[in-house]
Subunit: 199 residues, 2 copies
Amino acid sequence: MYEGVVQDLIDELGRLPGVGPKSAQRIAFHILQSDPVDVRRLASALNEVKEKVRFCAVCGNVSESERCRVCLDARRDPTVICVVEEPKDVVAVERTREFRGRYHVLGGAISPIDGVGPDDLRIRELMTRLADGVVTELILATDPNLEGEATATYLARLLKPMGLRVTRLASGLPVGGDLEYADEVTLGRAFEGRRLLDV
Amino acid sequence: MYEGVVQDLIDELGRLPGVGPKSAQRIAFHILQSDPVDVRRLASALNEVKEKVRFCAVCGNVSESERCRVCLDARRDPTVICVVEEPKDVVAVERTREFRGRYHVLGGAISPIDGVGPDDLRIRELMTRLADGVVTELILATDPNLEGEATATYLARLLKPMGLRVTRLASGLPVGGDLEYADEVTLGRAFEGRRLLDV
C-alpha cells in the first residue's frame, strides 16, 4: 500500500512482539517525522545490541563480556544460586535488593505444548556448576504458573540426591493488594503459607 | 538496571509512540534472541526510510521521488482534490478504490490546544495549486472530530470566494455496525443525512 521503503519498515516493525499492523504504521510515520539523528541512534542501538551482547558463560544472563556483572562480583555469595527462567527475571530479583547470591538463567520453562523439554533449558550447565560442592542452597524462582511450577518440580526431583537445600519462592497475597480481589488459588496458598506473628 | 547497550536499546524503543517501558523491555529481549540478520534488516529499514523518503513537492504525501505516485499518474483526475490530514489518510482513501482524483496532505489539523494554527498546515501550498483554475472540486476529508471539523470549516470559508464545489465526507453509521452501539452524535448525523431509497 505504501511506497517501497515505508512498507518495508512497516513490515519489519510488525514482526516485533506486541506490535500489530496499526502500531507498526503509527511507529513508521513517527519515524518519518523524527529527527534523522534520533532514528540513526535507534538503528545503531539495535545493531550494537547484536554485536556486543552475549550470554554469560557461567549463568546464562545477558552480558557484554565473557562473564556477567553478577558472576564477576566477588562480593556475591557463591553458595546460593537463584534459578530463573529469563534474563529479565534477574533484573526483577535484583530490584528487590534482597538477594546477594548468584543466578542461573534457564532460558525458559518446561512446556510440552510449546515443545520445550528439559534438554532445551540450561539444566546441564546448572548441574556442572553444582559439581564442586560450593553451592549449598538453590532457590527455584521460576514463574508461579503451570510451566514454572513444572520446571521447579522437575529440578527439585533431579537435585534431591545431591542433598542441597532446595527452596521455592513463597506464593501468597501481593503486597498492597486487596484480599477480596485475590484469586482462590493465591488465597489458598496464602493460608497454607501463613506465618506466626511474633509480637 | 540492564548492562549498557541493552539499557540503551530499551531507552530508544521506549521513545516510540505506543511503546511503554514494559513493551520496550519485551522487544529488546526479543531482539537479543533474534537472528542478527533480521535485526540488521530492521535497522537498515529505519535508516533507509530516513535517507530515501521525503514529501511530495506538490501534495505533501510521502514519496521516494520529487513527486509522489499519485501526482505522477496522468490517469488521475486533476480536477478533484481530496484534502486529508496525514499521509496515512491517503492510504485509507486509496484502499476504498472509490477516488480517482489527486490529494493534498495538510500535515495535521487546526488544534489551538496543541498550538497548531492554519499557518502550520500546508494551506498556502493548497491555494497555490488552485490558482490555475484546473481544480473544480475539493473534498474535505479531514477527520470527523473536533480538530478535523474545525479545519474543514476554516478551509470552506477560505475557499468560498473562489466559487469551487467544496464537499465534506458523509458522517453516519459505520457499515457492518450495530445501531444500538452508535453514539448519539453519529446517529444524529445519520438521521440528518438520510437518503431517499430509490427502489
